[in-house]
């Protein structure tokens, strides 16, 4: 049976659980790395709420962009129009769109997180928070694009349905790199 042909086996509970649980469990183990980073910055996070506000937005937006790009590529794969090549117009269009969306969103986020942080008792300047947000956001966009294309291709070649694998893998890796990039940039800027 080929990948994603919609046969009943592909949609059986047992198969979906057996494919997903080990993967999700493995990825949660990896997430402990980013949890540890959060924990090690606990004191800074509790005194600078802007950074705490940035955490879910940063992670959530990366996950969103990754999920849009992955499900678009994986639907193409199911329809038989996906081709891994830099000249593939769909990959190009999605890449440009992801960077555009990231620039828009992380600009707004920087200012908003600064304002909310101020209200919650933080002391960072708007330039500091905006720089942290934009620099880490654009680096994250790059990670999103590369990981989406690589993981859709890899899951296809390994014979997994990309719907079961790409989204969990890419959103998780984006979360982890998101936190690492965010606190890397925090250390560099502050």
């Amino acid at each position: 049976m080929s990948v994603g042909d919609g046969g009943t086996d592909e949609w059986s509970i047992g198969r979906m659980v057996r494919t997903m649980v080990p993967l999700l469990a493995g990825l949660s183990l990896l997430q402990m790395a980013s949890g540890s980073v959060l924990e090690s910055f606990e004191a800074t996070l509790l005194t600078q709420p802007s950074l705490l506000v940035l955490v879910p937005v940063q992670i959530g937006t990366a996950g969103n962009l990754a999920s849009i790009m992955c499900s678009r590529l994986s639907t193409q794969l199911h329809l038989g129009t996906f081709e891994l090549s830099p000249s593939n117009p769909a990959i190009r269009a999605n890449t440009v769109a992801v960077f555009g969306l990231a620039a828009t969103v992380f600009g707004i986020v920087g200012v908003a997180a600064w304002a909310i942080g101020r209200v919650l008792g933080g002391s960072l300047s708007v330039v500091e928070v905006l720089t942290i947000s934009l620099v880490s956001g654009m680096l994250l966009a790059l990670v999103v694009v590369v990981l989406s294309v690589v993981s859709v291709t890899a899951s296809y070649r390994l014979g997994y349905n990309p719907d079961d694998t790409t989204i969990p893998v890419v959103t998780n890796l984006c979360d982890i790199t998101g936190v690492l990039i965010l606190f890397g940039v925090v250390v560099a800027v502050l």
Binding site: S12, L29, S34, G35, P56, G60, T61, L65, I167, V179
Partner: protein, 190 residues
């Protein structure tokens, strides 16, 4: 025709939902940065450690459910109706099993990490928090996600652009909120 979208189309399709989820992310960040949550972080050892894994798991479980339903709709093997279709039903049950088992797994791993790093933590408390938060998330995410995808598809929206934002928006806001509920409920029982 699907797959021929330009970067501008993808940007325009995705921007509104991304901005909605951005607002929700800021809301989640504000809950996270609030006084009550900061008290929770201080009173429950391991809460910051499990936070990324917990938030990301829901992205993985429900994001992939959404992508699966979306591909099914595009392929025409799932009808956009609220009926007990076997494939749709299986996918929902599997997602519930995946979400709950991985939530408990995260609690156990968090406890092990705390123990290994010489910190004190309560296994019962962590499992209790994860079961409460995981269950509430599952009920909310499954009902809203399936409804939004089907209703959106009927109105001609591409599910691929809806899933990520819906999952992260609800996931982050209610994830952080249900985590607080979990802390409160286990505090009452234990």
């Amino acid at each position: 025709m699907y797959g021929q979208d330009t970067a501008k189309d993808v940007y325009r399709d995705a921007l509104p939902v991304i901005v909605v989820s951005l607002v929700a992310g800021l809301f989640a960040g504000t809950i996270l940065g609030s006084e009550t949550m900061r008290e929770g972080i201080e009173s429950v050892p391991g809460l910051l450690l499990l936070l990324p894994a917990f938030l990301a798991t829901r992205g993985g479980v429900y994001g992939s459910l959404g992508a699966r339903i979306s591909s099914g709709l595009h392929q025409g093997i799932i009808e956009p109706r609220f009926e007990l279709d076997e494939r749709l039903g299986n996918a929902i049950v599997a997602s519930f099993i995946n979400g709950m088992s991985v939530s408990v797994f995260i609690a156990v791993v968090t406890f092990i990490v705390l123990t290994l790093t010489g910190q004190s933590g309560s296994l019962l408390q962590l499992v209790g928090i994860m079961v409460v938060a995981g269950f509430l998330s599952a009920v909310l995410m499954l009902s809203v996600l399936v409804s939004v995808i089907i209703l959106g598809y009927r109105r001609g929206l591409d599910p691929d652009n809806i899933i990520g934002p819906v999952v992260t928006t609800l996931g982050d806001v209610f994830g952080v909120l249900f985590l607080l509920v979990g802390v409160y409920v286990t505090g009452l029982i234990l």
